[in-house]
Amino acid sequence: MRRMLRLHRIFVAQYMKNLMEYKVDFLTGAISFLLGQVIQIAFLGIIFSGIPNLVGWEFNEILFIYGFSLIPKGLDHLLFDNLWSVGYFIVRKGDFDKYLTRPINSLFYVICEKFCVDAFGELLIGLILMVYSMIQLKLTITWYMIPLFIVAVVFATLIYTAIKIATSAISFWTKASGHITHMFYMTNDFSKYPTTIYNKFVRTFITYIVPFAFTAFYPASYFLTGENPLFCIGGTVIASVVLFMISVFIWNKGIKAYESAGS
């Protein structure tokens, strides 16, 4: 584990040096990303200025859930973004060879090769939204909520990551699976709003099948209401652990089916 952390630090440092090699690209990327986020928030404000509440949730509560959803999403984006490339081109082009000829876990190696600084935008805005809405709601924080928050965020992040691992591992059989990952990933948009606004099918889907509801609405609703901690936080932990185990299993099976590319 210590070795992994050390390697991770080294890879991140390498990646940062890489970014600095192309300063213009890096700067424009950062600026455009921040701009995108600001526009998104402004848009949310416009929508909610017309709708005072949504199935019993008032504007600031929605804002809190929305802000919370950005934290695990941002963390996953920050740390595990390279999984996208696996499904889109690493496997198809045979570049996965490289990861298999190194004495480190291939999944770990792929993951820590990229460090997506763009994600700081999401994280920052997520935090701002949460703090702002908490002040507006005059939410009281008890001490045990802080470790619970950390647990919820860590495992919620793992849900994102596990879904990306499992879907990008499909490429070991199909050569490319970026669009499959994209399809599953996009359902996370559902999780930014209370699940009670959806019909039964969507609700079941995002709770039990692709459990994105556990990345935002369920844990966030616990922090808002203090109700149902077992389901809201415990459920997040269980969903993410089960999903993660399945995804690693698929990944390891996938490596055996990997066919490389002619050279």
């Binding site: 080294i10 090699e21 298999l100 000829t101 190194r102 004495p103 480190i104 490389s260």
Partner: protein, 338 residues
């Protein structure tokens, strides 16, 4: 050291009709075909040996190398290297091998070359003093100093290949796999790389498995070759054996004074040869005769030719390894189970 036993790898390939229509059709009703890329190959390599692995394009060389390096999982059969089964204990195993794929680089593209080595040092957990010694040695044999501070993307192909070979040797591997290490390089760099490989093999006792299309690599580096074609082993032995076994065919080339003179030559009848033993090709005044030197001596061949026709120029080509292999590839020579 390396034992390969009845190794096989099959790929499933979807046969598509041409065009978009064919692609759409294949999507709904795939027509699959099993391709046997490697079809039952066995061989073994001793410690410190340098083995040349040759075969025409698409013969399955790279597939074998990829199975030996743990990248691909064999469909059946086994390979054991240094007591490891590559796929079973991959992480531990790859620590003992070095791999260079000539067509791909393992260096960090945008960073100074030096950075690649410092990352690899961490990945392979090479201790500081060991690393310094190793770098000094690699510097000496591969002359990296000139470009170690340049970003990898700015290196020439020759520099990059040297850098790649150094990268694969940083952790002092017991086995080095080189897949076309001299592809696309000029003569000087090729020589430089061959010398380096030879030196590393001599000084460290590193076992080397090398695939190449440049037979000069083989002649200079390897005592033994394994030749494969269509996924099957067609030859396994020393280069001198290959020459001995298939080298009896010689080429006599000459230029006639008069084009019509060709009709005066009747090798098969006059020298009492079998059709298989001789082949005559001519184009204008240039004639080339390939003959089996076991069936007719070089002397007889020459004196017969010169007694019949007048020639401007004549030369006799030695059996070179390239010619032999070319003929095996083209299946002009059949090889029974070796």
């Amino acid at each position: 050291m390396i034992y390969v036993n009845d190794l096989r790898k099959e790929f499933k390939k979807t046969i598509k009709e041409p065009g978009l229509k064919g692609s759409v059709k294949a999507l709904f009703r795939p027509n699959n075909e099993i391709i046997k890329a490697v079809d039952g190959i066995s061989f073994h390599v001793d410690k410190g040996e340098m083995l040349g692995f040759i075969g025409p394009n698409g013969a399955g060389k790279s597939t074998v190398i990829k199975m030996l390096t743990g990248i691909l999982t064999p469909t059946s059969g086994t390979c054991e290297i240094n007591g490891h089964i590559p796929q079973a204990n991959r992480q531990k195993y790859v620590k003992e091998i070095g791999v260079v794929f000539g067509q791909r680089t393992q260096l960090w593209w945008d960073l100074a070359l030096r950075e690649t080595y410092s990352v690899l040092k961490e990945i392979y957990e090479v201790p500081d003093n060991e690393f310094k010694k190793r770098m000094a040695f690699l510097n000496e044999v591969l002359e990296l100093d000139d470009f170690i501070s340049s970003p990898v993307r700015t290196l020439s192909l020759g520099q990059r290949m040297r850098a790649d070979i150094a990268a694969s040797l940083l952790h002092n591997p017991k086995v080095l796999f080189l897949d076309e290490p001299t592809i696309g390089l000029d003569v000087v760099v090729k020589d430089n790389i061959r010398n380096a490989i030879q030196k590393i093999n001599a000084e460290e006792g590193t076992t080397v498995i090398l695939t190449t299309h440049d037979l000069a690599d083989i002649e200079m580096l390897c005592n033994r070759i394994v030749m494969i074609d269509k996924g099957k082993k067609v030859f396994d032995g020393e280069i001198s054996d290959l020459k001995h076994e298939f080298g009896q065919m010689r080429d006599l080339c000459f230029e006639l004074n008069h084009t019509d003179d060709i009709s005066k030559l009747h090798y098969v009848i006059d020298l009492k040869l079998k059709d298989d033993d001789i082949e005559v090709k001519n184009e204008g005044t240039a004639v080339s005769v390939r003959f089996n030197s076991d069936a007719v001596s070089v002397e007889n061949m020459l004196s017969y030719t010169l007694s019949k026709v007048h020639v401007k120029d004549i030369n006799l080509k030695d059996a070179d390894i390239e010619e032999i292999i070319r003929r095996i590839y083209r299946q002009e020579v059949s090889i029974d189970e070796v």
